[in-house]
C-alpha cells in the first residue's frame, strides 16, 4: 500500500485547501478514500455523526502534478483512511506560500499522512515543514460502508438560492429554534421555516428553478407530482448551518433534493469537485 502525491500550483493548492476546510467544518473525522483517479472525502450516515452523510469527490488530475498509488491489492487498487480533516486543514494552512507540497502515506510512530511543504526562505536552502497526521487504515472488509450513496427517489428537486443568503437566514433562525423545515415544490419555490411556541418565521424564495433530471434518475415520484405541492423535511438546524458555514466559494451549481419527510440531499457542483450532503429528517 503506497501513496504519494505532489502539488506545485498555488491555485490548485488554494483550491484543495478550501475543499479540505469545508470538510473540516462538517465533521471531526472523515474517511479519505484514494483511488488512481479520484480522491473522496466520505462521511457515512452513522448515528454518531448525527445521521448525516457526505460524499465529496475530487478528480486527482485537477489538483496534483504527481500522483502515485498502489492500493491494497491489484484487484482493489484503493486506500481507505480515517483522518481528522481539521489536522489536514491546519497543515495545509501553513503551506499556503509553499513552492511545492507533497502528501504521502508514511509509517512513522503510526500510519500517517505526511504533508511536506517546501516553503520559501531567506537563504538558498528551502525551509521544509512536515506534518505527520495520524490516520487509521480502514480494512477492506469495512469498505462497503463508504460507497457512493445512491440518489434518493426524491419528491422535489430545486436549485438553491445563493448560499450566502441562505446562510444568513439560517444563522438567524438558529437563534430561535433547533429545528428547521425546508420545503420546496416543482414551481421553483422554496421556504425555510421555523416554528416555536412563541414565533413562526418563514423565508420564501421564488423562481429558483427546478433542475431537469430527465432520464438521469428514475424519479417516478416527481414525474406525476402536482407542481404547486410542497414536499418538506424537518431537519436539525445545526446540520444545515454547518454545511452552509463551510462553503467558501459559490459553486457553479447548488441543488437540493427533498424526499418528503425523509431526507434532504444537498448537491454542490464545482468544476472539479462535487459535494453531496445528506441530512436526515427528525420527527
Amino acid at each position: 500500500m503506497k501513496f504519494r502525491s505532489k502539488m506545485t500550483d498555488v491555485g490548485c493548492l488554494n483550491h484543495f485547501t478550501r475543499v479540505v476546510n469545508t470538510i473540516a467544518k462538517l465533521n471531526k473525522t472523515c474517511i479519505l478514500r484514494l483511488t488512481p483517479d479520484n480522491l473522496y472525502f466520505v462521511l457515512s450516515g452513522k448515528v454518531a455523526n448525527g445521521g448525516v452523510s457526505m460524499w465529496c469527490e475530487l478528480l486527482q488530475v485537477n489538483f496534483f502534478d504527481e500522483y502515485q498509488i498502489e492500493g491494497v491489492s491489484p484487484d482493489a487498487n484503493e486506500i481507505c483512511l480515517e483522518v481528522a480533516p481539521d489536522n489536514l486543514s491546519r497543515a495545509l494552512k501553513t503551506a499556503q506560500t509553499a513552492k511545492s507540497v507533497k502528501i504521502k502515506l508514511t509509517k512513522k510512530h503510526c500510519p500517517c499522512l505526511t504533508i511536506a511543504a517546501e516553503l520559501p526562505s531567506l537563504s538558498s536552502v528551502s525551509r521544509v515543514v512536515t506534518h505527520d497526521i495520524p490516520v487509521e487504515v480502514i480494512p477492506r472488509r469495512l469498505w462497503h460502508d463508504f460507497k457512493e450513496p445512491t440518489m434518493p427517489d426524491f419528491d422535489v428537486s430545486i436549485y438553491l438560492p445563493p448560499l450566502k443568503t441562505m446562510k444568513n437566514v439560517v444563522d438567524r433562525m438558529k437563534n430561535l429554534s433547533n429545528y428547521l423545515v425546508i420545503e420546496a415544490n416543482l414551481s421553483g419555490e422554496m421556504n425555510l421555516k421555523i416554528e416555536t411556541d412563541l414565533v413562526s418565521v418563514t423565508t420564501h424564495f421564488k423562481d429558483l428553478g427546478n433542475p431537469p433530471w430527465g432520464d438521469d434518475a428514475s424519479q417516478s415520484k416527481s414525474q406525476s407530482r402536482d407542481l404547486e405541492a410542497m414536499a418538506y423535511t424537518r431537519v436539525d438546524i445545526r446540520k444545515l448551518q454547518q454545511f452552509l458555514a463551510g462553503q467558501q466559494v459559490n459553486p457553479s451549481k447548488a441543488m437540493c433534493n427533498i424526499v418528503h419527510k425523509r431526507i434532504v440531499h444537498l448537491i454542490l457542483l464545482h468544476e472539479d469537485v462535487s459535494l453531496q450532503y445528506f441530512i436526515p429528517a427528525v420527527a
Binding site: 491546519r90 507533497k102 508514511t106 511536506a116 537563504s123 506534518h131 495520524p134 487504515v137
Partner: protein
C-alpha cells in the same frame, strides 16, 4: 522616583508589559541607578522574564541618588493602563510613572492628545528582588535571528501546542512539537520544521543538542520583538539547563529565561534525545525515493525501529567558537573539554542532575551555592541584575 517616556517608547513600554503579562501574574518593578527593571516569573517558576530600560529610554529619569526601590503588583492592573495598543499609539503622547511610597502607589499618567490626562493609581506591595540565575555567555550555542523568521516558524505549530523541541546541528535547526504522553502521539499531528543556518543572522553551535521548552513564553517575547523589529538571540546548553531568549538595543534589554526539560524526562517521554539525532526532512524532500517511506501497512508491525531512532555518530561538533571562550575562565574551559569528551563516548546512562526550575527571588549566597553544586559552570548572575 519619576520616569517619563514619550512617543514611540510608550508603545515599547506597553508591549513589554503585554509580553510580561503572558508569563507571570505579578510584575516586579525594581529601580536601579542604571535603569528600571521590570520582571516577572510564572507560577511554576519555570519561566522568568525581565525587561531592563536604561535611563536613556526615558525622557526623564529622576531618582534620589543611592536610593533603590522595588515593588510588585498584579500584572493585569498594569496591563489595563496600556489596554489598547492601537489607540495608545494614536493618542498617547507621553507616559509618566511616579513612585509614591507614602501611599504605596505607583501612579501612571498618560498624557493624551487634546490635553487629556489619564491617571491610574496602582497600589503595590513591597517585595524582594526577583532574580533568575543564568549566564548567557557561558552557553555553547548561540543563535540570532530576525523576529520574522521565528514568528513564521512558530506559526507552523498549532496555537494549542505547549512545548516545542529544538534540535541543532552544525548547520541546521529543527523544531518539532513535543508530546508528553506516548498515547497522544498516536492522535496528535506531529509537525517538524527545519531551518538552515543561513537564515540566521548568527548561528554558532558547538554542542549538538536538543532542548524542549514552553512555546508560550517564546510567543510572548516574539510579540515584543516583532513590534520593535529587534533580532532575538537564543542562548542554550544541554537539556535541563535554562534557555535564554534575549532582545536588546542601546536603551533596553529583555531576557526571557525558560526551563528546559531535563534529559531524563526527555528520554522517558520522548525517545528522541540529542543522540538520536533528528531525521533529515530536508534531504528527504529533495531526493525523494518513494520506497524509502512507503511501507506495506497491511502487514503492519508495531512501529518500533524506525530509522530516525538509530543512534548516529556524534563526534562531529565543530570547535567551539572562540568568541564564547573569551568569557570562560580556565576552570570552565576544562569542564568544557570534559564535556566534549563525554560527547564522544557512548551516552552516559545518567547525566548530571537537571532541574526543571531555576533560581529566582533574591538568591542568597547559600542559594547560589546550592545551585552551583550540580552545574557549576554557568551560574554567574547577569550583570544588570545587581540589586
Amino acid at each position: 522616583m519619576d520616569y517619563v517616556a514619550t512617543g514611540g517608547n510608550v508603545k515599547v513600554l506597553a508591549k513589554a508589559i503585554h509580553s510580561l503579562s503572558r508569563i507571570g501574574d505579578e510584575l516586579y518593578f525594581e529601580h536601579q541607578d542604571d535603569g528600571l527593571a521590570l520582571r516577572t516569573v510564572n507560577s511554576s517558576r519555570s519561566a522568568f522574564a525581565s525587561f531592563f530600560l536604561s535611563p536613556l529610554f526615558f525622557q526623564r529619569f529622576h531618582t534620589c541618588p543611592g536610593h533603590t526601590f522595588r515593588c510588585k503588583m498584579p500584572v493585569k492592573s498594569v496591563q489595563s493602563v496600556f489596554k489598547s495598543l492601537s489607540s495608545l499609539e494614536k493618542t498617547v503622547e507621553k507616559c509618566r510613572i511616579e513612585w509614591k511610597p507614602e501611599r504605596s502607589q505607583l501612579t501612571f499618567t498618560l498624557h493624551c492628545k487634546h490635553g487629556l490626562l489619564k491617571t491610574h493609581n496602582l497600589s503595590f506591595q513591597d517585595c524582594e528582588s526577583l532574580q533568575a540565575v543564568f549566564d548567557k555567555e557561558g552557553c555553547p550555542n548561540v543563535l540570532r535571528a530576525q523576529p520574522r523568521l521565528l514568528v513564521d516558524t512558530v506559526l507552523n505549530f498549532p496555537p494549542s501546542l505547549e512545548e516545542v523541541t529544538v534540535s541543532v546541528s552544525g548547520d541546521r535547526m529543527w523544531l518539532k512539537n513535543h508530546v508528553e504522553d506516548k498515547t497522544d502521539q498516536f492522535k496528535a499531528m506531529m509537525t517538524e520544521l527545519c531551518l538552515s543556518s543561513e537564515e540566521f543572522d548568527h548561528f554558532s553551535v558547538s554542542l549538538q543538542t536538543s532542548i524542549t521548552f514552553c512555546l508560550k513564553e517564546l510567543r510572548g517575547l516574539l510579540v515584543f520583538a516583532e513590534s520593535t523589529g529587534l533580532p532575538i538571540s537564543v542562548f542554550f546548553d544541554d537539556p535541563g539547563r535554562p534557555v535564554v531568549l534575549s532582545v536588546s538595543d542601546s536603551v533596553l534589554e529583555a531576557n526571557f529565561v525558560l526551563a528546559t526539560l531535563s534529559e531524563d524526562a526527555h528520554q522517558n517521554n520522548n525517545n528522541n534525545s540529542k543522540r538520536a539525532s533528528p531525521p533529515t526532512p530536508a534531504d528527504d524532500f529533495m531526493c525523494d525515493d518513494m520506497d524509502s517511506y512507503l511501507i506495506a501497512m497491511e502487514t503492519s508491525e508495531i512501529a518500533g525501529a524506525s530509522s530516525q531512532k538509530e543512534p548516529q555518530p556524534s563526534s562531529s561538533h565543530g570547535p567551539p567558537m572562540p568568541n564564547h571562550r573569551v568569557f570562560l575562565d580556565s576552570v570552565m574551559e576544562e569542564q568544557q573539554q570534559e564535556r566534549d569528551e563525554e560527547e564522544d563516548l557512548e551516552r552516559p546512562p545518567n547525566k548530571k542532575f537537571r532541574s526543571l526550575f531555576f533560581g529566582s527571588v533574591s538568591p542568597t549566597p547559600s542559594q547560589v551555592a546550592n545551585q552551583t553544586t550540580h552545574s557549576q559552570d554557568v551560574l554567574a548572575s547577569d550583570s544588570e541584575d545587581e540589586g
